[in-house]
Subunit: 373 residues, 2 copies
């Protein structure tokens, strides 16, 4: 146990109690609706963190095969790799199967299905595949009513070493839903989209064992997720300013902050310089409401109106949104501040270690995270 | 030696010939003007890369003490840590001195000077200090004519274990100079600012052994750097779209690209989905001219008008700037593309390994990089 005096800044702090509280919130939703929770571990990429929100033997979702290997090493067996698979990753996928991982991959085109079936001998066991459905026009996937859907699944089913398991989607457009009513609508649209795809396949005699949906705003919209067999979400465990701005959480729920030191004061320009630049905070500006993040004191109390207005690689410039002068008591040279992140996934991704606090200002553990691809 | 067939995407490619060519350009400038080149190693943070642009026993500049430790391990002795020092880093600085590193740190306030002198017993040997001068109102430092300057240096000189070495500045405002004439003006302003500070100190009988300037646009402006004893610059070794847009380099000089695979095609929306999102490309939008980067084919030929318009964590969405339909031949499922980065420092910072090409599409080496703080 140590206070912050031996922490070199910038450092990524995780509030363990808040993480556990946030984890419980989505667990409760999934338990109440009897839906499997397949947490996305991409935000913190840490086995120790996952122990709180996806304890073994939970199924998990990963965004890279490096994450899959790291979590497999820790004993996770049921892993969904939720980025469209390409042939140059077949070897890595097979490597996971050889380690005993029950991996599931996703595709969204006939070309990808044909590639998989023509290379199926490269996989030691049957490879689970989901087809990605686009429910909100925000990224990947095919429309539920696309004639491609049946062609893809038919192609997959020509091969005994490829197992079509069902459909999945990510309602990323929910990040633009600032009212809960809109998030409820989006959650319904999300489920309706994958259910429509499953119904079309059902008419062709093809069953979807898995109907997977997910995004933190829809998962926590407080509505039924009708038809879904599993929910994927990630940032709900830490939350961030984007989620707080939407109203999905309160600012005090945010479990991740960046600890930084004041390295300089420019009273004539009303600017405070800190040692957290974009290398620590990331360059994610979220909804462009808070620069590169909001400023809190070392205990985590938000200092109203103070935000990181600019960043360089290892410098952050703090200003007040109304240009107020720097109060002498809060920003002394060498003093510690915390920055609330716009986007926890991006900020956490800049660190390979997290300093874990149990008693707000007492670091109790250091967690490592996975890295790379 | 291997071609790209065994590279898992996304991957960071470094073109060794271009890196060497760019390195030589600034070396030639510094040699012609008889100014020491203290290259900033923050862009690639790689000893193997530095062997091309800052071969041992070159002096170097670092942006973190983790970089300093990593380069010290490789034999670098003369290291400038170019971010304002705070007390929670004294122990790490002393650790470097104990390893035999001749480290120099920077400060810009009397509070920082008083902190250093009151803790000087924590350093095993004399600690070299530069005072940061602000020449362009863009970040840290004090004005050359600030009455603080003499107070800071006088305070430093009260302590035998602290050695005032001189002044330094970073002309970051040069990143906004789109005409070479403006970069020449900025280079003159940069040198004039630190020379003015040195002159004020000289009048008080205090000599500046080091007068350090630096930024890639001013360093390569093609003018004399009058009075400077050393030049610091970093991104000149790889360059990027920001530098090309300024006119500091040509696009074909850019030595760093991100190799990515096409994971999906959406012909109805004129969108190509690739496996390089903001985790690989960074969220740096540079001058907001090219989204998250320009698209080139696997050989590195820019595909005119195609750019990364959106990113998620592990997805990039490529569009044509005029909304052109996707040509069938260039973006087939699984094919490789390269993304030219807006800001090489930010993009390189997302990777811990670089795939080094000597023959454009042949990977000859893998380089590691330093990480963290």
């Amino acid at each position: 146990m140590s206070d912050f005096s031996h922490i070199v800044t910038p450092a990524c702090l995780i509030d363990k109690a808040k993480l556990a509280h946030n984890a419980k919130r989505l667990q409760t939703v999934c338990e109440a609706q009897n839906i499997k929770l397949r947490a996305h571990v991409k935000t913190l990429k840490s086995v120790e963190a996952a122990a709180l929100y996806a304890p073994l033997p939970s199924p998990i979702t990963v965004s890279t095969l490096a994450e899959a290997r790291y979590f497999a090493e820790a004993g996770y067996k049921d892993i969904l790799y939720a980025v469209g698979l390409t042939p140059n990753k077949y070897e890595a996928v097979n490597g996971l199967m050889e380690r005993g991982v029950d991996i599931t991959v996703i595709i969204d085109s006939l070309a990808a299905a044909e590639s998989l079936t023509s290379h199926s001998r490269r996989f030691i066991g049957p490879l689970n595949v989901l087809v990605e459905i686009d429910v909100d026009n925000h990224r990947a996937g095919i429309a539920a009513d696309s004639e491609q859907l049946l062609k893809i699944v038919t192609q997959l089913n020509t091969d005994n070493n490829i197992v079509f398991r069902g459909v999945m989607t990510h309602a990323g457009a929910s990040y633009g839903c600032f009212k809960n009513a809109d998030r409820v609508s989006m959650a319904k649209q999300e489920c309706a989209g994958v259910m429509a795809a499953a119904a079309i396949l059902g008419q062709a005699g093809i069953e979807c064992h898995t109907i997977s949906v997910g995004s933190t705003p829809t998962a926590l919209a407080g509505c039924e997720h009708f038809g879904a067999t599993e929910i994927r979400a990630g940032v709900y465990a830490t939350f961030d300013l984007v989620m707080a701005d939407l109203g999905v959480c309160q600012r005090q729920d945010i479990a991740l902050t960046v600890l930084t030191s004041v390295i300089g004061l420019q009273h004539d320009k009303n600017r405070v310089i800190v040692d957290a630049g974009w290398m620590a905070l990331s360059r994610d500006k979220g909804n462009n409401l808070h620069g590169y993040g909001l400023v809190a004191d070392r205990e985590g109390n938000v200092l109203d109106g103070w935000y990181v207005s600019q960043t360089n690689q290892e410098h952050g410039i703090i200003r007040h949104k109304e240009g107020k002068p720097i109060p002498a008591d809060k920003f002394a040279y060498g003093s510690l501040l915390r920055i609330l992140p716009n986007h926890a996934c991006a900020t956490a991704g800049q660190f390979r270690h997290y300093q874990v606090t149990e008693d707000n200002c007492t670091v109790s553990e250091t967690w490592k995270s996975a890295d790379g691809w």
